[in-house]
């Protein structure tokens, strides 16, 4: 039954993803790409469980490595997106007239 629920969730998220993204204007495509990339770092959850569950030594090391990579993706992704978006803020004085 779990597979059924997960598939349901998959189907809904795919539709939702399409609805959400297809509205984003071209201007914001670069931050969108890197923001979405940061979200894909969600694998970090799986990595944490693998590294911390103490199931087998090998799984712990593999998990540790995957935590490392996933955290790079998450931290770097969000920070870089924020840096880009900071430039899009409303300016007190517009560039020109």
């Amino acid at each position: 039954m779990e597979a059924v629920f997960l598939s349901f969730i998959l189907m809904l998220s795919i539709f939702l993803g399409f609805e959400l993204i297809s509205k984003v204007p071209a201007t914001l495509h670069t931050p969108l790409m890197s923001g979405a990339n940061a979200i894909s770092g969600i694998t970090v959850l799986g990595a944490l469980v693998a590294a911390g569950a103490n199931n087998s030594e090998m799984a712990t090391w593999l998990g540790g490595a995957s935590v490392f990579f996933a955290v790079i993706n998450v931290v770097g992704g969000y920070m870089v997106t924020d840096r880009m978006l900071a430039m899009f803020r409303k300016k007190p004085t517009g560039g020109a007239a």
Binding site: S34, G35, A38, I42, T60, V67, Y78, D82
Partner: protein, 460 residues
């Protein structure tokens, strides 16, 4: 404090809602930054409750790995130049792929060492997570190499490539089946699968030219979402599935938008090495260089000036002086616009980011379809390090590999200045007949220096 599985999952629901809200808000310039923050909060919440869940018992490895990852990620994000954003995203993306691969691998250990024999469904999702993760990781690395020009940007093609790739695919399917039939820890099939996944990533990206890398990154981004999704099925985690499929969908849509902007199909991008296309008609003619002094005189007299930025502006970091020049021209009474081609630069919206950095106001940015009809009445177009996106061969030369790509028709303007360092071609490697047109003047040199020279003249 140990949270029950139910509580953790209810927190995941909140995280998922935050991701969704965040993506929604990323769609408007005003709310985008807050949206990214929401999404980050969702991620932090998910990480915290996962750490508090009772399935996690030892923290040393986690603490070490998290510290390492945070330092690397934060430094990379801080130090990278805005112009190298595409490479950075490629690397982050590869990182995510590697993580999925490793999660799948670790899950494999747990499943096989577990009490009951792993179900085929679980095995398949684990294999998918390893396969997609591996392709994403190695593919992103190659994309990074091409974008940063650490390796040749040309499409790498060789005889029998298709056969080799087919063999790899067959090998992957075969080893997966063999592994599912007999899932043991030391199984050589697993190693074959792992190796072939990584090789497939490399083989998939090398035949694609550097100019198409943004499409590839966006597609690999989508893959990293799918890999997270597969990992979610493997370990039964809802949030991985939701977040993964949101990312998967977003990557595919962006890919599609880019392909449309280049008037090519995705299949065409992926499977027809760009450089390997039929030879374009050779371009010949006389090039008319111009020096900054003369260009200044013409600009001073112009009533309407349109800037067309491209990748070269990013390389030269010329966006700030360009804005300054724009302001001076406006003071001088000219109407100033910036024409933005959707695939100028190396990422979709690349030019928007740079010009926003330089404080150019939204209203001055004009999209390709809106500017083209106005160009015949424009006095001067200043092309700043753009090449492919203003190449009239895309319109005129049926033999050109970029034929059919919509471009900004700068050659229709009264006068065109092209600012670049040499007669070299753009990222597509295609010659540009624009440089030889009657109304074109080449202002050779680094874009930032050329523009600065113009600014200095205006000020004096």
């Amino acid at each position: 404090m140990n949270l029950s599985a139910e509580l953790v999952n209810f927190a995941y629901i909140i995280s998922a809602a935050l991701f969704i809200l965040g993506l929604k808000m990323l769609g408007h310039p005003d709310s985008a930054r807050r949206g990214n923050l929401y999404s980050a909060v969702g991620m932090a919440l998910a990480i915290i409750v996962t750490l508090l869940a009772d399935s996690i018992v030892s923290f040393e490895v986690i603490a070490l790995a998290t510290l390492g990852g945070t330092v690397v990620g934060a430094l990379a994000a801080r130090l990278v130049a805005m112009t190298s954003m595409p490479e950075m995203v490629a690397l982050f993306n590869g990182s995510g792929g590697a993580a999925s691969l490793l999660v799948g691998w670790a899950a494999l250990y747990d499943e096989i060492l577990g009490t009951s024999a792993p179900s085929t469904f679980i095995l398949i999702t684990i294999i998918l997570s390893i396969l997609i993760g591996g392709v994403t990781a190695s593919g992103s690395l190659i994309a990074y190499g091409k974008l940063s020009e650490r390796m040749t940007t040309a499409a790498i093609v060789f005889a029998g490539q298709r056969i080799v790739n087919s063999l790899i695919l067959v090998g992957i399917v075969g080893s997966s089946v063999m592994f599912c039939l007999e899932p043991t820890l030391g199984s050589q099939w697993f190693w074959v699968l792992l190796a072939l996944s990584l090789v497939l990533g490399v083989m998939a990206v090398i035949p694609i030219g550097g100019a198409d890398m943004p499409v590839v990154i966006s597609l690999l981004n989508s893959y990293s979402g799918l890999a997270a999704c597969a990992a979610g099925f493997a370990i039964g985690n809802n949030l991985l599935i939701v977040a993964g499929s949101l990312v998967g969908a977003s990557g595919i849509i962006l890919t599609n938008i880019m392909c449309k902007a280049m008037n090519r199909s995705l299949a065409n991008v992926l499977f027809s090495g760009f450089g390997a296309a039929k030879a374009a008609t050779k371009v010949e003619g006389e090039v008319k260089p111009i020096v900054a002094d003369d260009a200044f005189l013409i600009l001073e007299a112009a009533q309407s000036v349109t800037f067309v930025p491209g990748y070269g502006m990013a390389v030269a970091q010329a966006q700030h002086v360009v804005r300054e020049l724009g302001e001076l021209l406006e003071k001088n009474g000219a109407e100033v616009n910036f024409a933005i081609h959707p695939v100028a630069g190396r990422m979709p919206g690349h030019m928007n980011v740079l010009l926003a950095e330089a404080n150019v106001s939204y209203e001055q940015l004009v999209e390709m379809d809106d500017i083209n009809p106005r160009l015949p009445n424009t006095d001067v177009v200043v092309v700043i390090g753009a090449n492919d996106v203003v190449n009239p061969a895309a319109r005129e030369d049926e033999n050109s590999p970029i034929y059919g790509m919509p471009i900004i028709n700068v050659d229709h303007a009264r006068t065109v200045f092209v600012l670049k360092r040499s007669m070299g071609s753009g990222f597509s490697g295609v010659d540009n007949p624009l440089f030889f047109k009657e109304n074109t003047r080449m202002l050779f040199g680094d874009a930032k220096q050329s523009i600065s020279a113009l600014v200095a003249e205006f000020k004096s």
